[in-house]
Amino acid sequence: MPIETLKETASQTAGPYLHIGMMPAAAGITGRRKQPGNTLVSAETQGTRVRVEGYVYDGAESLVRDGQLEIWQANAQGKYNHPADTQDKPLDATFKGFGRALTDFKTGLWWFDTIKPGIVPGRRERPMAPHLNLLLFARGINMGLQTRIYFADDAAANAADPVLNLIELPARRDTLIAKRTERDGKVVYQFDIHLQGEKETVFFDI
């Protein structure tokens, strides 16, 4: 007999009105003083500025326009702002590493203004290529979907990344790699999420 422990509380969909609780200004509720948003950086934050943006598509290639994305990332040195990260690397006091974005009610576009994270050691010291940890919530999603965003111009690091290498088919691996573009002299990474179908994004069970 396995030892009995408490069971994790069951997940339920965040529903179409998730913004009320998590991004109230988007719902039309004013007055919140502090609220995580999709700009993770201030003028003092160290690191290379990047914009990461994209769309979320359902199984009929329709846009998801009522969802929310969350990212969690290391700073430019590859250090997470959390006590479990005991690496001897500096924290950046101006950088928490957490952001939230909605998929726009009209266009479906989501975006984050952040910095490119540094390399973080994975299991047994194998370096993990720079990545953003991503969680997606929306109506119709019964449990938040987890994945990662990697960066296309880190080709060598991506090729050696221990997580990407768990994905056997190269085409599936590519679903986690954001394409690098430039717009008005600014670096923009494009990352589309496909919930279903031929281009289905790789999601994790962690």
């Binding site: 509380t9 009105y17 007055g31 973080v120 050691p121 119709g140 019964n142 768990l166 994790f204």
Partner: protein, 243 residues
């Protein structure tokens, strides 16, 4: 070489959660991944996560009776919702950020996309936050949300519910769920609630009336305890950052 004890989170028991594809909940049909999830061992990216404190909150965040007040208290049954956030070993999860959102007493959300005919309440936003104390306890006060119809099958109604979003100690413990109310006759009819296959897991989302915490002549109380994934300790003879 240093001996390092690292805490990893116990695996998620997916039989306690609704599957991604739950056809009675129609929106899930096109929004459910169909390929197998990639099983991943935890690394620093997963056992860390954002930490929040009271400095991140506004003073009235846990008082939905007053945090959107214009000229009166909101209409509806005044209630206190309270409970504890625990891990699988019943240890308190301290400092967990809880965000809640809900419809008003008439079943209408204050959201630009909700067009239900029930009236908005000018004194109620349905938006709140709190952080658990050292014993894992939290509380907020609000009005009991109303049930409302929704576009699924033509006569589907959501039971009264409050949405809960939780940050525990790490990104892998992140959880969004809904709290329901004891005795609601709409529960057996709800395809979202019933997408959870396990009867015990469903029952644990239903908050019982808690007369011990009722505020006499003021507000009823409901108790909702929440369990997040807990850790186990693992030895590794390795340098920091590797496990």
């Amino acid at each position: 070489m240093s001996n390092k004890v690292t805490e990893l989170y116990i695996a998620r028991d997916r039989s306690m959660h609704p599957p991604a594809y739950a056809p009675e909940y129609k929106t899930s049909v096109l929004r459910s991944p169909r390929k197998p999830l990639l099983s991943l061992q935890q690394s620093l990216s997963e056992i860390t996560g954002p930490v929040f404190g009271h400095e991140d909150l506004d003073p009235l965040d846990n008082d939905l009776l007053h945090n959107a007040r214009v000229d009166n208290d909101p209409i509806g049954e005044r209630i206190v919702v309270h409970g504890r956030v625990l891990d699988h070993d019943a240890r308190p999860v301290r400092g967990a950020l809880i965000e809640v959102w809900q419809a008003n007493a008439g079943g209408r959300y204050r959201h630009v996309n909700d067009h239900y005919i029930a009236a908005l309440d000018p004194n109620f936003s349905g938006c709140g936050r709190c952080i658990t104390d050292d014993s894992g306890a939290y509380f907020f006060r609000t009005v009991k949300p109303g049930p409302y119809p929704w576009r699924n099958r033509i006569n589907d109604w959501r039971p009264a519910h409050i949405h809960f979003s939780l940050f525990g100690r790490a990104f892998v413990t992140r959880l969004i769920t809904q709290m329901y109310f004891e005795g609601d006759p709409l529960l057996p009819l709800c395809p979202i609630y019933n997408a959870i296959p396990d009867a015990g897991a469903r029952a644990r989302l239903v908050a019982p009336l808690d007369t011990a915490q009722t505020i006499a002549l003021d507000a009823l109380a409901y108790r909702f305890d929440i369990v997040l994934r807990g850790t186990r300790q693992t030895f590794f003879e390795n340098s920091p950052g590797s496990f």
